[in-house]
């Protein structure tokens, strides 16, 4: 039986794709190459950076006759291919793309998501930030594209809902901003007492480093969506990330026996700690492991997915909601230095499952 793995192997998202593939393969190796008791052959396709490359790659997998597909980093790709999967009656388990609409009320029978939903990420820290700044106000900054706007909107909804005041909001040109000085100076002029930010990749690194070197970190605490300080970004930032409070549903620091076992196995296999991206793909593989026990045709796999009670994730047990969305617990994390290495320490859960 063939399972498609649709992850970026080229372009800016390639490091995320690598983590996802490692997480997926670790789960498969632990199951001795079998999912649901059936031998599995993994077919990898390169998603690239955008729908221009991602959609043809997905169509290629469908033409090859794979039984199910796991992966997809870009929300634009996920939204672009979901109809093709529904039509072909092949289940797609999205393992990173975060757009709210992917698991909206009209979700297709064949589309599932074992990863975060943007509204759950930035929405779950709003009330906490409101409590922290009290009478003060917060400036919101994010890149100017769909995910950036969804993060900002999700944060504002719960932050303002909890009585917080927004001092200002700015969206930076996506993929073109390396110098944040003009935006940082705008933040200083706004009179805000804290900042909430979402960025990814090199923009996350530039933003957080310049936030320090322009002296903002001394006066304005930085709150962020956890992607700013995850994986390669965290490594590149090093000490510059220290003290950033952020929200995400996993950290290798999570102190549970299941997670310790997972971190040990992952580190032994790949000589680096797992990231949230590895866990999301690991959990997608665990979902298929349970679902494939029912059968291998598309409708049978969907029946299996519907029948899943809980997924024993390294991030903590979770289950699928009625709209096929993984219901992770979201944590408040803070970057701390441990033996000279930055880590995301778990402070406390922000949501209940």
């Amino acid at each position: 039986m063939d399972i498609g793995l649709l992850v970026p192997q080229s372009g800016v998202y390639a490091p995320i794709g690598e983590d996802m593939e490692q997480g997926f393969r670790l789960c498969l190796d632990q199951a001795e190459g079998q999912l649901g008791g059936r031998d599995v052959n993994v077919v990898v396709a390169d998603e690239g950076e955008s729908p221009d490359t991602g959609v043809p790659a997905a169509q290629g997998l469908l033409e090859d006759g794979v039984s199910a597909v796991v992966g997809v980093v870009s929300s634009a790709v996920a939204l672009g291919v979901q109809d093709a999967f529904t039509e072909a009656q092949v289940p797609l388990v999205v393992a990173n793309a975060g757009a709210n609409a992917i698991t909206g009320p009209d979700v297709s029978d064949f589309v599932w998501r074992s990863s975060h939903r943007i509204e759950d990420v930035s929405g779950s820290i709003g009330a906490y930030v409101a409590e922290q700044v009290g009478e003060g106000s917060v400036f919101v900054i994010a890149p100017d594209y769909a995910a950036g706007r969804e993060h900002a909107a999700a944060f504002r909804k719960t932050f303002e809902g909890a009585g917080g005041t927004v001092a200002g909001e700015v969206f930076t040109p996506f993929g073109q901003t390396e110098n944040f000085q003009p935006f940082l100076s705008q933040i200083e002029q706004s009179g805000a007492s804290a900042v909430y930010a979402f960025f990814g990749g090199s923009e996350a690194v530039s933003f957080a480093r310049q936030y320090n070197s322009f002296g903002l970190s001394q006066n304005l605490p930085l709150f962020a969506a956890g992607f700013v300080t995850e994986g390669g970004e965290l490594e590149a930032l090093g000490q510059d990330a220290e003290g950033i409070q952020n929200v995400l549903h996993y950290s290798p620091q999570l102190d549970t026996p299941e997670n310790q076992k997972f971190v040990e196995a992952y580190t032994a296999a790949y000589e680096e700690p797992p990231t949230v991206y590895s866990v999301q793909a690991y959990d997608a593989c665990q979902s298929l492991d349970q679902a494939l026990e029912v059968g291998t045709s598309g409708p049978e796999i969907v029946e299996g997915l519907e029948g899943i009670d809980t997924i024993p994730s390294p991030a903590g047990e979770w289950s699928y909601t009625d709209t096929h969305q993984a219901s992770y617990t979201y944590y408040l994390r803070e970057v701390q230095m441990q033996d000279g290495q930055p880590v995301n320490a778990i402070i406390r859960p922000l949501t209940e499952q």
């Binding site: 100017d144 930076t172 000085q181 935006f183 100076s185 480093r209 070197s213």
Partner: protein, 295 residues
């Protein structure tokens, strides 16, 4: 009111830092096009090679000033070699028009980009500013990274040096003459082949130098080569081809557009750079300091 004024002053300063950094890339592009009539799309790769040299040196040694200078020297050496190589590669295509040259140099850029990604990975790599300049100082009442002031000083010194060489030396006169009429210079018995290789090498060395200089603020990552190349091309178009002053003015204008412009009109940030270019093309099609000779 004073607060508003002073925080914009600091943005102007930052625009100068950004502008002089762009100048190091644009000058090479402009001279190579002016002198050899070659459009080198591999110029961004030279910048990125410089940035990765800074990454290598700063991971191998402690980030002191001495090692930063070592990175600069290595970048200049490697950059000029690469430039000379590119000049030999493009020479057989000299008579075949800009499209063929663009295709060749774009191909080189892709190959170099992939080789760098293979060597250094696709993750972002950072470089710490050299140790005496890694802090911040207060400028016009705002906290400002010391290293950006260093960039301004080095960039201005470079601009003055380039101006003196082009305007005040025999070599510079020959380069200018070649920009104006290469055939006539050749008829006077000057070995323009060697001159062209030299200009290409110096232009490439400047871009690699800029790569090291810019690494502590722009980091090093796949894709940065393209963004830098595009900004360099915009600067050349705005300033006018084939002159030091043109590249300098163009770079300072784009530096301000990308800082002061973005600060005053953040919602239009994505369009400002190309808006400025379109405006200059409408009003002065040959660039602000262009001589009116359009390729």
């Amino acid at each position: 009111m004073f607060g508003f004024f002073s925080s914009n002053l600091i943005t102007v300063v930052d625009g100068i830092a950004f502008g002089v950094l762009l100048f190091t890339i644009a000058l090479g592009l402009s001279l190579v096009f002016g002198v050899m009539d070659v459009l080198s799309l591999a110029h961004g790769s030279l910048y990125l090679i410089g940035s990765y040299i800074a990454v290598s040196v700063s991971t191998a040694f402690t980030p002191t000033l001495g090692f930063f200078v070592l990175a600069l020297v290595l970048a200049v050496a490697l950059g000029s070699l690469a430039g000379a190589g590119l000049s030999f590669l493009t020479r057989p295509l000299a008579s075949r028009g800009h499209l063929d040259q663009a295709l060749l140099t774009l191909g080189v850029a892709f190959v170099v980009g992939d080789l760098l990604a293979q060597q250094y990975g696709r993750e972002v790599r950072t470089v710490a500013p050299p140790s005496p300049f890694d802090g911040s100082v207060s400028v016009f009442g705002s906290t400002y990274p010391t290293y950006r002031l260093v960039i301004i000083a080095v960039g201005l010194a470079l601009a003055i040096a380039a101006y003196l060489v082009i305007e005040r030396t025999k070599m510079g006169a020959l380069v200018q003459a070649t920009v104006a009429d290469a055939q006539m210079v050749r008829a006077l018995g000057v070995n323009t082949g060697r001159l062209m290789t030299g200009v290409f090498a110096v232009g490439a060395a400047l871009a690699a130098f800029g790569g090291v200089l810019g690494a502590p603020i722009l980091n090093a990552a796949p894709g940065l080569d393209n963004r830098v190349l595009i900004l360099g091309l915009v600067v050349v178009v705005i300033g006018g081809l084939g002159s030091v002053a043109g590249a300098f003015v163009g770079a300072l204008v784009i530096g301000q557009v990308q800082t002061l412009g973005v600060s005053l009109a953040p919602s239009y940030a994505a369009f400002l750079t190309f808006g400025a270019m379109a405006l200059v093309l409408l009003l002065r099609p040959a660039g602000i300091l262009g001589k009116g000779r359009l390729a």
